[in-house]
């Protein structure tokens, strides 16, 4: 007997379904441990963040309810918004470039048009095992303006006075680092999505005399759209919370990274270093809303564009 789909309880259920309901309720027990942890460590802190943001602590006077005061401060804060603007620009560049590279390689491996595909795939995935801190440190050394090998290489091809940590090049450098860290992961997901395109659809396309580029763009790409949407979504959420890489790079070049370089840096510096918890909480909530709006917005945008080629 198959268990019915989620049923809404109605008064006067028949005796027959009572057993099924009792049995299904046992399923709840399986979910409870996770739910408890989920509520305690994700939902409750969120609630507490909102609560805290509505108060202000002063050295004199203690903690008082201040309503939307912290929010006003945040929303009017040029520091916060400039950081937000920066990560949006950063995301707008980094995500498409990275996904394009990932899709390019995923396609190559899916088609099998390069040798030693499995070896390359494994190599490309290695950065996923590297913590962002270590990755940032490695790249900091590589790009170091005075001693880094990449500067020597740039000199070698005739580009002098290249400072990867200058205010112009800092963001592009971060983009390079993040692309290094995450392309492999994105590529693996796209590769597995491509592999699940039914083989006979591609064979039909071949028999229909479809050139290769068209097979990729008009047959395969539309069919992996769900994976791409998922990746855009996940990458977006991560990109808007950029933190570790600028923080580490700041140790190497203090002047290039300000305390509000990214919103999360702003929150961190305000909340922990500056001990202004309430303000930081408000900023965190605002950031959360921005992220929700942008992510959901990007999903809706993708859906409405339709898939007709």
């Amino acid at each position: 007997m198959r268990a019915p789909a989620a049923r809404v309880a109605r008064p006067g259920r028949s005796r027959q379904s009572a057993w099924i309901h009792r049995r299904d309720r046992r399923g709840l027990w399986f979910v409870v441990p996770f739910l408890v942890a989920f509520l305690l460590f994700m939902i409750a802190p969120l609630g507490y963040a909102i609560y805290t943001s509505l108060y202000t602590s002063r050295i004199i006077g203690g903690t008082v309810f201040s309503g939307g005061a912290n929010y006003t401060t945040t929303l009017q804060s040029g520091a916060f918004w400039s950081g937000t603007e920066r990560v949006i620009i950063y995301a707008a560049i980094q995500i498409p470039v990275m996904l394009a590279i990932a899709f390019f390689f995923a396609t190559i491996f899916d088609l099998g048009v390069a040798k030693w595909g499995r070896l390359f795939r494994t190599i490309f995935f290695i950065p996923f095992a590297v913590p962002a801190v270590v990755g940032a440190v490695m790249w900091a050394f590589l790009l170091e303006p005075q001693f880094g090998p990449f500067v020597h290489a740039a000199n070698g091809i005739g580009l002098h006075n290249v400072n990867f940590f200058s205010s112009n090049l800092m963001l592009p450098s971060i983009i390079v680092i993040v692309i290094w860290e995450w392309t492999g992961y994105n590529m693996v997901i796209l590769y597995t999505a491509l592999k699940s395109v039914p083989r006979d659809v591609v064979e039909a396309a071949i028999l229909d005399d479809t050139p290769l580029w068209k097979i990729i763009v008009r047959v395969k790409l539309p069919l992996v759209r769900p994976a791409i949407v998922l990746l855009v979504f996940l990458n977006l959420i991560g990109a808007l919370q950029l933190f570790t890489e600028p923080l580490i790079l700041q140790y190497f070049q203090t002047s290039a990274i300000s305390v509000n370089y990214t919103p999360v840096l702003y929150i961190y510096n305000t909340g922990i270093a500056g001990a202004q918890y309430n303000l930081a909480a408000a900023a965190a909530v605002v950031l959360g809303l921005v992220i929700v709006v942008i992510s959901v917005g990007s999903l809706a945008f993708r859906r409405s564009r339709g898939g007709v080629s």
């Binding site: 659809v201 064979e203 039909a204 229909d208 479809t210 539309p222 080629s309």
Partner: protein, 432 residues
Amino acid sequence: MSTVSLEGLTKVYANGVEAVSGLDLRVADGEFVVIVGPSGCGKTTALRMVAGLEEITSGTLRFGDRVVNDVSPRERDVAMVFQNYALYPHLSVHQNIGFSLANRKVPREERDVRVRAAAAVLGLSDMLDRKPRQLSGGQRQRVAMGRAIVREPSVFLMDEPLSNLDAKLRVQMRSEVLRVHRKIGVAALYVTHDQTEAMTMGDRVAVLRAGVLQQVSGPRELYECPANLFVATFIGSPSMNLYEAALAAPSASATSSASPSASPSAATTTAAATGGDQGGAAIVLGSQRLSLPAAVLKRNPALAAYVGRAVVVGIRPEHLSDPAHAGASPEPGTGLTVEVDYVEVLGSEQLVHFTIDARRVRDESDQPGAAGDGDQGEIVAASVSEGVARIDPRSVIPARGRAVFGVDVERLHFFDPDTGDAIAPTGRAAPG
């Protein structure tokens, strides 16, 4: 000029598995040829070699006069209908059908005209804007066919296109497929595991087993003159009853073949059982004997060489009858006493499952009943010795117990017990 010639086509995979061995087949322009066989017999592989989706290991493939072994699938001008339809899920029916035309840079207006024409042939005209996921199985199948015919190909290939449809729809679609084929009139190669489909649809049917062609001929010939045990059991449902038997010289002492419950006149029975018909033979079937008229031996001289040897005798279920129903008793030498196991009442006929004490011969591909997809080598346990007879629906057959059936001895089939080949005359002398 779209004849297709497979000459000695062989496919060996990298792991050494030989999927198709030396396949010789010719499809004439406009002919509808069906390749049939159990799953794993290499029929799909053969089809894919014709399409160009599998590399040909050895042998020659010709379209017309042109050798196409190394021609890419795009340039072969073949169209194929896949088992799972392989429609482009994100495109509409119109776009699916017109996809190949778009690739060939056919201008939009002309493309539209041709797509609509193809859609009209297949009854898809009001579905052109739908996506595949909004269509039923049968409709998707028709879109797949539309996509194939709109290109006006020289060769039309179909890989089990109906096997994913439910039984009723399958029967309907069979005539659809034939109707469409008649309209486009090119050489067609159709692959299926369903022998009923093969028999009802093919101009000619090629039976394949483990990569080797067993027989290719028209459906009637295939049915009436199977070339070996495999074809005999594969074609026809319920399958032919096959038993180990022996041919004896007619003068051997007779054992009465009539059961006590019938009412024969004992004298005539005994006389007949001794092969009173001079020149005939006796078929020793377990403890019973049937007599083979001399005329049969005359028609089939090869059979005469087997007198005194073991043979395999095949009786089609419809060649057994119930003489008691007409109030008569079986002709002398044609009565077979059986133990009835159970009776399937179909309304139009009865299928009587019985046992006799002869040893049944089973070919591994024996399919019990309809379009079953039997695995190679699977042993069907308890019913090994079971035979099936097709009896008039009004006969009264005891659900258990004995019955006496009449055997149409003129229509018996004989096979060599070692090679499995049919014992048949060279030249066209099909018995019945």
